[in-house]
Amino acid sequence: MINLKYFFKGLGCVKSFDSPAIALGCCMVAIGALFKNIGFNLQESVFSTFLTYALPGSLVMAETMIIGGSLLNIFFAVWLVNSRLYPMTVSLMPLMMHKSQPKWKYYISCHFVAVSAWLIMKNNYKSIAKENRIDYWIGVGTATWSIAIIATFIGYITADYLNKDIMIGLAIINPVYFMCMMIGSMKTLQINSSIILGAVLGPAFYLISPEWCILFGGLIAGTIAFILGEENVK
């Protein structure tokens, strides 16, 4: 089963002073409040974070519901914004795959792939032996996922006390935190150029297609960065 030593080690990752728990918690509080404002009840709000656990996807769902979009609209809009989880999973799972570990761990724990847990794992995986990484990851994921669910709950019940200025303050926390975290992980030419090109091309493609900008911008930026890095190694 799960090696508890590594599970708890992963779980403890969110305790540090500068852990993503703060950013994640704050933005999920905002999501909880948003859910209340669009007419979800408490169970629905918590259930939504429990099942989806991806902030931009939840935002898109809320926006599509507000404008009266169909279920198909919701599926398509969420899929487009959350398709980034595909390369994120592919760039993480091979680092954790070990023949001694059962496959179900990978299929279930992929639910935890979201920016906060992903960045923690990307920054720490080298300090854990490969065969134990999946148990460590399940710990990291359980911690961040639990924070997201609890914060949604808190956001829902405190929604009436959160005025517009506080909501705006909460909304900037997420992009600022993850932007700093990404700048902090800029260590190789490939990653540096991926981040810089992605940040330029993503918004640039927004002018052509708001829906497809992340997918197209990310794909082109990542591919150019990859080629740049490979050429440089040669």
Partner: protein, 106 residues
């Protein structure tokens, strides 16, 4: 739980989980020191950067009510504080929230 909200939540989670699930299936065939792994690594960082940049430059929801220039100043000064505090993540984050709330309530 009303039916339409329940279905919307279900559809959202399916759309989200599918990307994660196919990611695991693809991962089974990829070695961590292969070229294709490095390509996916670039794609992961670039799509994340694209998403964060889009949220800041073309926000939806609460942030869209903040003036473009104010957002720009807050972001630049947060990056400055990030470097000033030797890459501490907490100070720029808290700074950005407080300063934005303050400017906006003026």
């Amino acid at each position: 739980m009303s039916n339409s909200i329940f279905l919307a939540i279900l559809v959202t989670s399916l759309a989200t989980f599918s990307s994660r699930f196919f990611g695991v299936i693809t991962s089974e065939k990829i070695k961590e020191n292969s070229k294709i792994f490095r390509w996916f690594n670039c794609l992961a960082y670039s799509t994340l950067a694209a998403l964060i940049a889009r949220i800041v430059i073309f926000p939806s929801g609460a942030l869209s009510e903040v003036d473009y220039f104010v957002r720009f100043i807050v972001i630049i000064s947060s990056i400055f504080i990030f470097y000033l505090t030797k890459k501490n993540l907490v100070y720029p984050t808290i700074f950005s929230a407080i300063i934005l709330s303050l400017i906006n309530s003026l």
